[in-house]
């Protein structure tokens, strides 16, 4: 069971907003994680386009590494998923975000913040299919896939 954490989640959200706002104001870039990482594996991405992307991803990963030492419970998983389900999930997230031009950050934070109709459509779509997936996993598979 997960407990309702409005204050911590709001503070976390504000930090995510500040981080994305910094990237916009200083670098003029959208803080979309799928876009930033996806471009790194595109052969057409030039050397000058890679530096800041690698730095952003390193900041994300290294900070997570430190956080995992300081507060391991923040990374606890309480859901029951097989390796097959995790592989399928990763493939869908990777393929889907690149097809739909964004994920929770690019569409959900930056897109909604720019009042983009495209991003609103994307957010409503992925929350709906996510909810259907969770509903099916719980009711058809008993929460374990």
């Amino acid at each position: 069971m997960e407990s309702f954490t409005p204050i911590a989640s709001l503070i976390g959200g504000i930090l995510i907003g500040i981080s994305s706002a910094l990237l916009l104001m200083f670098n003029g870039r959208i803080a979309g994680i799928s876009g930033i990482t996806g471009a790194l594996i595109e052969p057409s991405t030039g050397a000058g386009e890679r530096g800041w992307r690698i730095a952003f991803v390193l900041g994300l990963v290294v900070t997570g590494f430190i956080a995992a030492i300081v507060s391991p419970t923040a990374f606890e998983s309480t859901i029951d998923r097989s390796t097959v389900a995790i592989v399928l999930a990763g493939l869908a997230v990777g393929f889907g975000t690149r097809t739909g031009s964004g994920c929770t950050s690019g569409h959900g934070v930056c897109g909604l913040g720019r009042l983009s109709g495209r991003s609103l459509a994307a957010v409503l779509t992925f929350i709906t299919t996510g909810a259907i997936t969770v509903f099916v996993v719980r009711t058809v598979f008993g929460g374990s896939v």
Partner: protein, 152 residues
């Protein structure tokens, strides 16, 4: 010179982003699934994450960025210009949602969680990059195809 500043700024942005994700509870797959479980034991916390983040961004974008011609350390703003709601947007978003509900991870939290050394997280991230790579290959193929037949 400015390129170095951009790299430092992006690194700092990544650090703050990651702290935000961890505090928000986004690195707990069970919490993500509980947010998406509207008809079960719903945990609305993640609405506060997206709401808080989007509000800060909205104020910055409308109040500050729109008034400037250029960003502070880069020559131009790179912002999306498209307004049409097309099939790839909806199909891609839909697929992403399925993966999000199935694994409990979206791209940012998955990368933040790599440092736990969890096998599941590493598996998810490898599969995610494979999915991105597959999309990239298909897109380049269809681009070549479209170039010769003028469909699309």
């Amino acid at each position: 010179m400015n390129e170095r500043k951009q790299v430092v700024l992006a690194g700092l942005s990544g650090v703050i982003f990651s702290i935000g994700l961890v505090l928000a509870g986004m690195t707990r797959p069970g919490k993500v699934v509980a947010f998406l479980d509207f008809f079960g034991d719903w945990d609305p916390s993640l609405a506060f994450v997206m709401g808080g983040a989007a509000t800060v961004y909205l104020l910055t974008f409308q109040g500050l960025a729109k008034k400037r011609d250029t960003p502070l350390v880069a020559p131009v703003f790179h912002l999306p210009t498209r307004k049409d709601i097309d099939v790839p947007l909806i199909v891609g978003g839909g697929l992403f949602g399925i993966g999000w509900g199935l694994g409990g991870f979206c791209p940012g939290p998955a990368l933040s969680s790599l440092g736990t050394g969890s096998f599941d997280v590493a598996t998810f991230v490898v599969a995610m990059f494979a999915g991105m790579g597959l999309r990239s290959i298909l897109k380049r193929r269809s681009a070549v195809h479209d170039g010769s037949t003028q469909t699309a």
